[in-house]
């Protein structure tokens, strides 16, 4: 499946809505996530406090970003980690490729990292002829299928069991002929196991970077991060600079929030803190550890007053609870990051001109903010991106005209009232038996639903008449 482009959002949406099973496929995952999250939070009376604390941890780190980044660098260097800085996505993936080439790597294993996707690492590795092995089961599935991810936590949620059966039979060395999910998972286990043990380089992302120790933290259910990182000689971490927290103690409140919000589990099975390369006598582990710290639009978010978005811990709760995401799915957004958080991030990673339509594909219902574990005001941020694209005139001309005309009317109340009453007359003309089935200029509404027939006079007309009658009567 070819990746959609963000600028083709209207067409992407059309394509998504035309897929008959898409809604069922999405719901299978999001409904369960929603229910499990609700249960996890009901079982955690301190959740609101944890949220406030989590937000404070992130806000504090963002406020003193330069201090913590410098501290992180110093401590990571002291552990023997080699630090690389990348301003852009291209730079970041080039750094990773250069390290791979330097070590003449033929095979690299990767544990799931959205940042890796963001910087286009998959394509860069594929184009360079290095064998790339995705080790997260979902990433493994979409790698075989050639798909982009459709969710930040369940990247393969759009693929059915039948799809997986086909893919595994085609690609696995020793495939299963069973259709049971457990046998499919075992088939992947067999296939990936030798690859884990024979890779030249392991590449991971990071959920948290701990400033006071220079450590990175991975969080997985499968344990694939440790299996990716430990056997090869070289470990490369790619991480966005917003992953910083002051210390391990500060990561803990965020861990409490992350897994509950993402999957509804109280904790994920594998949380590992990686502190550089193998110590001299260690039984296993990589001999060399590189860390690529990536900006790619993050400092721009800081400059543009979007720093609240840097709190994001990538739990995916906003998309699991988004009515729009649930109907169009992740691919329609045309970005690595879909849903509400993606609609805020993508304009900064790509450009607002290219990704402004997504900011309007939101009813501003506030559900995403309500479930966000770090209280990111996503609707406010989406709205402010709309204001930016309004100022830059990215909106289609007709939309601008309609909104401007409406605003011009609304600031002249008497004219507004007169036009409203004309509108009522017009609507009455289009009505039949209490409803309007179609009406010029209202196709957006009546294409899919009827419009109630208004009363014959506006409220204001009736109210004035009533008042007049009263005063006449008196």
């Amino acid at each position: 499946m070819q990746a959609n482009k963000p600028e083709n959002f209207y067409q992407n949406v059309k394509d998504a809505l035309a897929q008959p099973d898409l809604k069922m496929i999405i719901r299978r995952t999001t409904d369960k996530a929603e229910a499990k999250r609700a249960e996890a939070i009901a079982n955690f009376p301190g959740f609101e406090n944890a949220r406030k604390q989590g937000q404070k941890v992130k806000d504090h780190t963002i406020k003193y970003m330069d201090h913590y980044l410098a501290e992180f660098e110093k401590n990571a260097l002291a552990q023997g980690t080699i630090i690389h800085w990348a301003s852009t996505a291209e730079e970041a993936s080039k750094i990773v490729l250069d390290i791979c080439r330097q070590h003449e790597a033929k095979k690299v294993t990767r544990s799931k990292s959205m940042l890796g996707e963001e910087i286009g690492l998959s394509h860069a590795l594929d184009n360079s002829g290095i064998e790339r092995v995705e080790t997260d089961l979902a990433e493994h599935i979409i790698q075989l299928a050639g798909d982009p991810p459709s969710h930040i936590v369940w990247p393969a949620m759009h693929r059915s069991r039948e799809d997986v059966i086909k893919l595994f039979r085609e690609y696995h060395k020793d495939p299963t002929y069973s259709e049971e999910i457990i046998d499919l998972v075992r088939s992947a286990r067999r296939d990936l196991r030798t690859k884990f043990l024979t890779a030249d380089i392991g590449i991971s992302g990071s959920n948290f970077l701990l400033a006071d120790s220079g450590s990175s933290c991975t969080v997985t259910n499968e344990g694939n991060a440790e299996l990716t990182i430990t056997p090869p000689k070289v470990h490369i971490v790619t991480a966005g600079i917003e992953k910083l927290v002051p210390s391990m103690a500060h990561a803990i409140p965020l861990l409490r929030l992350l897994t509950r919000s993402a999957t509804g589990s109280e904790i994920t099975q594998y949380i590992t803190f990686h502190n550089g390369a193998k110590r001299p006598n260690d039984a296993d582990g990589p001999e060399e550890c590189h860390m690529v710290l990536v900006d790619n639009g993050r400092t721009k978010m800081l400059a543009d007053g979007m720093e609240e978005m840097l709190r994001c811990i990538r739990c995916g709760a906003c998309m699991n609870h988004c009515v729009v995401y649930k109907h169009i799915g992740g691919h329609a957004y045309g970005s690595v990051y879909p849903g509400p958080m993606g609609s805020v991030l993508t304009p900064h990673l790509n450009s607002l001109e290219v990704a402004n339509k997504q900011t309007h594909a939101c009813t501003l219902n506030g559900r995403c903010e309500e479930v966000c574990p770090v209280n990111i005001p996503l609707p406010k941020l989406l709205r402010s991106l709309r204001a930016q694209s309004w100022d830059k005139k990215y909106e289609p001309l007709t939309n601008r005209f309609v909104v401007k005309a409406f605003a011009a009317l609304a600031k002249r109340p008497m004219l507004f009232q007169w036009v409203s009453s004309c509108g009522v007359i017009f609507m009455k003309l289009c009505s039949r038996k209490g409803w309007i089935r179609s009406m010029p200029l209202a196709g957006g509404w009546t294409r899919n639903r009827d419009l109630i027939e208004p009363e014959s006079k506006t409220f204001m007309q009736q109210y004035k008449a009533m008042k007049k009658a009263k005063s006449d009567g008196a």
Partner: protein
């Protein structure tokens, strides 16, 4: 469908008026909202009746228009400011400003200050207006301690909590509490009661097809309750859901604004329509 709505017991209403008179003689400005003004004036009259029953003096400034949501949500901050200026001027002298819509009330309460944050003088006035502005149903309960009495409506209702009212203004208990006093009316809980109906103002025309998918699902949930009435506090959402239900041929459920039911005013206004059914 039998939908016999009996008028509010006059005595009950009077006793309510007397009860509330002692606590407050509040001067309330009614912000009618565009949709009530053009599509459903009965909601405006219901609001006046309820507010008067609750002991308020109600005035409706004739020189009012829209709260500015279409401009604000489209990102047109300058257009929004122009609308905010005149709304502030029209309403800032009241004791309270009451709005029969969660989303318009939230616009005035939360977003005027957002667009005026760089204009200190207007900001102060916007903050004052925000402090006196209330959504109708929550105002009746939270400020007036109003309990409707003598209102009867045979049947069952389900309730859609519109997003702005529910999330921005925490309107949830208030309408249910008042509706519990309507004789003959049973509540049927709605699955996904606080999930967006897909209206979203300009969203529903800009992304009509996504909106349609969302409201279709909402309609299914509404129908599953087998309630006679679908109630809510926002005309936008109600029109969206009612419009979808009607398009799908479902005449067995009628959407009403909660104020219409509580005021017992629905039959007078809807008389013609019901008679034609």
């Amino acid at each position: 469908m039998s939908q016999e709505i009996i008028n509010a017991d006059v005595k009950g209403a009077q006793s309510n008026a007397i009860k509330c008179l002692n606590i407050s003689e509040k001067k309330v400005g009614l912000f009618v909202t565009c949709l009530v003004n053009t599509m459903r004036p009965s909601v405006g009259f219901a609001a006046i009746k309820l507010l008067e029953d609750a002991g308020c003096t109600v005035d409706v400034p004739e020189s009012q228009s829209c709260c500015g949501q279409p401009a604000f949500n489209s990102g047109d901050d300058e257009g929004t400011r122009q609308i905010a200026y005149q709304t502030i001027k029209q309403f800032e002298t009241f004791d309270y400003v009451v709005v029969p819509s969660g989303s318009c009330a939230a616009m005035i309460k939360k977003n005027f200050v957002e667009v005026l944050k760089d204009q200190p003088e207007w900001l102060a006035r916007a903050e004052h207006l925000a402090s006196i502005t209330h959504e109708l149903l929550s105002f009746l309960v939270d400020v007036c301690d109003f309990e409707p009495s003598g209102v009867e409506l045979e049947g069952s209702y389900t309730y859609h909590d519109s997003c702005s009212g529910y999330r921005s203004l925490h309107v949830y208990e208030q309408p249910r509490k008042m509706l519990a006093n309507v004789k003959g009316l049973d509540h049927r809980p709605l699955h996904g009661h606080s999930e967006c109906c897909g209206f979203g103002g300009t969203f529903c025309v800009k992304y009509s097809d996504i909106s349609n998918e969302i409201v279709a699902e909402k309609a299914e949930n509404v129908l599953a309750t087998e309630a006679d009435y679908l109630l809510g506090g926002d005309m936008g959402c109600l029109m969206n859901m009612a419009g979808k239900l009607n398009r799908e041929g479902h005449k067995e459920i009628e959407a009403l604004h909660t104020a219409e039911v509580l005021a017992g005013l629905a039959p007078q206004i809807l008389g013609g329509k019901n008679a034609s059914k």
